[in-house]
Subunit: 160 residues, 2 copies
């Protein structure tokens, strides 16, 4: 019903879990992008600042790349832009002539904290109506699926 063009043939095997994950991600990504945009950031820029903020200690381009599961070249584009925009600063590592660890500037910290607050609000909306048990089961399953696929969460990607 609700589809006047549909005759009868297609039984329509329903879409799998992958599809539901993709759809939810699409909505989450859009929501995060929108909130980050209010502070002049893309979602990727926000998450990169967030990683830096959570880690507490300066991280080099390569380290950030590993934690974000992308190439150093891709990460370079991100932090180059963040540096231009004055959200991070990079100064040479004391006892390593090649590494350029990045730290949040005051402006960068202010922005990332504001974004994180907005995202936390958003998550509350997303999970509205779910019990504490539902939420923890959800998170547990997400983590289990990641683990089953051989992935981590980038807390300590290899060494570093």
């Amino acid at each position: 019903m609700s589809d006047p063009d549909r005759p009868e043939g297609g039984v329509a095997t329903e879409p799998g879990v992958s599809y539901a994950i993709a759809r939810l991600h699409q909505l989450v990504f859009a929501a995060v992008s929108e909130r980050a945009a209010r502070h002049g950031l893309t979602a990727l820029q926000f998450t990169t600042l967030s990683v830096l903020n959570r880690h507490g200690v300066p991280l080099s381009n390569s380290q950030l790349a590993r934690r974000s599961f992308m190439t150093a070249q891709s990460m370079h584009e991100v932090i180059h832009r963040l540096e231009q925009d004055g959200l991070i600063a990079r100064s040479p590592h004391p006892n390593h002539g090649r590494k350029l660890p990045a730290t949040l500037t005051t402006k960068g910290r202010r922005v990332v904290v504001a974004c994180e607050k907005a995202v936390a609000e958003f998550e509350k909306t997303m999970l509205k109506g779910l019990t504490k048990a539902d939420r923890s089961a959800f998170l547990r399953t997400l983590k289990a699926a990641v683990k089953n696929l051989g992935g981590g969460f980038g807390e300590g990607a290899s060494r570093d």
Copy 2:
């Protein structure tokens, strides 16, 4: 521990649900992309063929776009390429001079069925070790979150 560069300061507020969803999606997307690539498709091309296959009846560019939550212009790029590659065919709608409904070609159907099989295998791997109850709770929560964010799943996006 496991991080020699980490002194003491950062308490590291742990990343939220959004982050876990993004990470799982990243792995799922990579896995689907890889499997689709074996048949010469991108993940997006595969899902588009899949929508067409599930629906059973020809869909126009605009209809496909609505079901996939993107603009008609973006979808046009996808189906134009699929048409070039001989995976779909488009012929004018009998009683509408502008619509160009797309159908799967024999080749297209063969490819999408093969991909769907590969993806189903993949999903089994991803959910290994989870009980029937875990899986249905997971899917239920995914759907609830989508609903909380005001999204549907494109089965009947508005009319059509």
